[in-house]
Amino acid sequence: MTTTTLPLTRQARTPSSDRPSRFLAGIGTAVLILGAVYCLLPVAWLLVASTKDGRELFNSFTFLPGTGLTENLRDLSSYRDGVYWRWVFNTVLYAGGGAFLSALVSAMAGYALAKFSFPGRQVIFNILLAGVLMPAVTLAIPQYLLLARVELTNTYWSVLLPSILSPYGIYLARIYTAAAVPDSVVEAARTDGASEFRIFLRVALPMMLPGVVTIFLFQFVAIWNNFLLPFIMISDDSRFPITVGLYTFLNQGADRPALYTLVITGALLSVLPLIALFLTLQRYWRVDLMAGAVKA
């Protein structure tokens, strides 16, 4: 597996006499491994717990694997005619579609903010950023009521549209574009006679791609894990994402028990794609954007 591509890599190697003592290195390694174990522990629990059926879950030692994995998977798949897989599809739609549109909108906005100077540039930028200050809990009901007026609630759009705007994404896009797209190239394309949109699409965007992919991944995770917005907007459970669906498993009303086995298995299945996404695309996580963002 390759390491992340970074703008600067240290080439020099220090002479052996100045390297840290083996003892300190050993402690350092131990600390790292301890941290890794601490972070993996609950995920390991999730894996083991999903192998237990309803009876074993509350009857056996925590880390002892159970025998119910296939049964749990089968139960989850067949519950209400496979509504869980419908939720998976919905989540992919919301996260994939939302993140894609978000990356596009952020890229366009970031490009404009970085490559043009126009009246109101800083004001618009600051106002867009101020969006992070309003918590989602506060905005949920007003957003719902407003969408209800145009009869768009309980639709896929009601979850997609509010998820597209990402102030943090615009911030990253601006920083990255400023660093990655030289003014000279844009100017050259202009004098070539290309339209502004063509310049953006054909010249700037390819250069911005690593940053845009980062924004996409960031928003993908955020929307995938979002609970409150779809919870308010969607009343038809065939349009739930996984987060809301699992919540209904836990809250079936007083006269029904929480469906813990389903929740655990469902949670595991929803976390695995993200982990896989991380592992395969980790080289694209240009988190140096954040560090670069600080310097800008």
């Binding site: 600390v31 790292l32 491994i33 106002i127 969006g131 007003p142 705007l165 202009r190 929803s270």
Partner: protein, 319 residues
């Protein structure tokens, strides 16, 4: 350069060139249009509507069961007065401060420590640790809280089992005071990895020459870490702190998910939980709107103040 070759071509078509000169003026606004439209529709309008709602309330007459018994009326600043004088809101704010006071140093300290270790030489298992510690970022808050809930509750927790086997006294992880630490732990678990990567990347961006001279001078790795690395990533540290503080002030999912499992968390344990309770459990959207405006204003003031303070420090190092 390309420009010199192209000039003859552009000189041959002045009218088109003139027409196109107008576009660069509009272009940035057009590019920004989607973002601005979305902002107005989904942030600005809801905020305005929230402020509007905060000035209204419900008026019921009689038993309130007949038709037309309920109406929405103007309330002036009554909701704001109710929001600000409700001691539960400020108690919640204090709780959040305590929670943040535990969470932020631990999480950022751990992130810094791990980042430094990832950057150190002769330390093993770096790639494994980097992936593992970043992994919790993929887990949503609700799932994480559920997992940790299972690990905290005595009957199903391996820790209690371990303590019992070792003959040590039981610790109530969800008691009145310990619940702060238990909740902070969930956030630390979830957030350390992301912050670690941010700081690590900042570390990797430090040019090697700086270390060279230090090593030639005979500095140990530890001293280099303390004296050179940490100060150089201070801007990254500050930014992660700011975002972490803002997120902490808005904490909602973890206490809400953990609440059914214990008696120690009330439905108003954090300010945002109170807003949620007022809006959803008490059907009092008006009070919730007023409280939201109050909280948002406080957050705005704190963030602006912090950012102003920080911008000076962050960019001082640049000189």
């Amino acid at each position: 350069m390309a420009t010199t070759e192209i000039q003859p071509a552009s000189a041959a078509a002045p009218p088109a060139q003139g027409a196109r000169r107008r576009w660069p003026r509009l272009a940035p606004y057009l590019f920004l249009a989607p973002a601005i439209v979305l902002f107005v529709l989904f942030l600005l309008l809801p905020i305005i509507y929230t402020v509007y709602l905060s000035l209204r309330r419900v008026q019921v007459s009689g038993l309130g069961l007949g038709p037309g018994a309920r109406s929405e009326v103007w309330a002036g600043l009554d909701n704001y007065r109710d929001a600000v004088t409700d001691m539960e809101l400020w108690r919640g704010a204090l709780r959040v401060l305590l929670y943040g006071g535990i969470l932020t140093p631990v999480m950022l300290g751990a992130a810094l420590l791990f980042a430094l270790l990832l950057d150190a030489q002769r330390v093993r298992a770096r790639r494994f640790a980097r992936i593992s510690i970043f992994l919790p970022y993929a887990v949503p808050a609700v799932t994480a809280t559920l997992m940790w809930g299972f690990l905290y509750l005595p009957a199903v927790s391996p820790f209690h089992y371990l303590l019992e086997e070792l003959g040590l006294p039981q610790v109530d992880l969800l008691g009145r005071v310990s619940v702060f630490f238990s909740l902070a732990n969930i956030a630390v678990w979830g957030g350390t990895g992301f912050n670690m990567i941010v700081i690590y990347t900042a570390l990797r961006a430090i040019p090697a020459e700086i270390y060279e001279s230090a090593r030639i001078d005979g500095c140990s790795e530890l001293r280099i870490a303390l004296r050179i690395k940490i100060p150089m990533v201070m801007p990254a540290l500050i930014m992660t702190t700011v975002f972490s503080v803002i997120a902490t002030l808005q904490v909602f999912s973890e206490p809400t998910t953990l609440r059914p499992l214990t008696n120690s968390i009330s439905s108003t344990w954090t300010p945002l939980m109170k807003i949620y309770r007022d809006a959803f459990a008490r059907d009092d959207i008006y009070l919730a709107a007023a409280t939201s405006v109050v909280i948002a204003l406080i957050t705005l003031v704190l963030s602006l103040g912090f950012l102003r303070l920080v911008q000076r420090r962050a960019f001082q190092d640049e000189q």
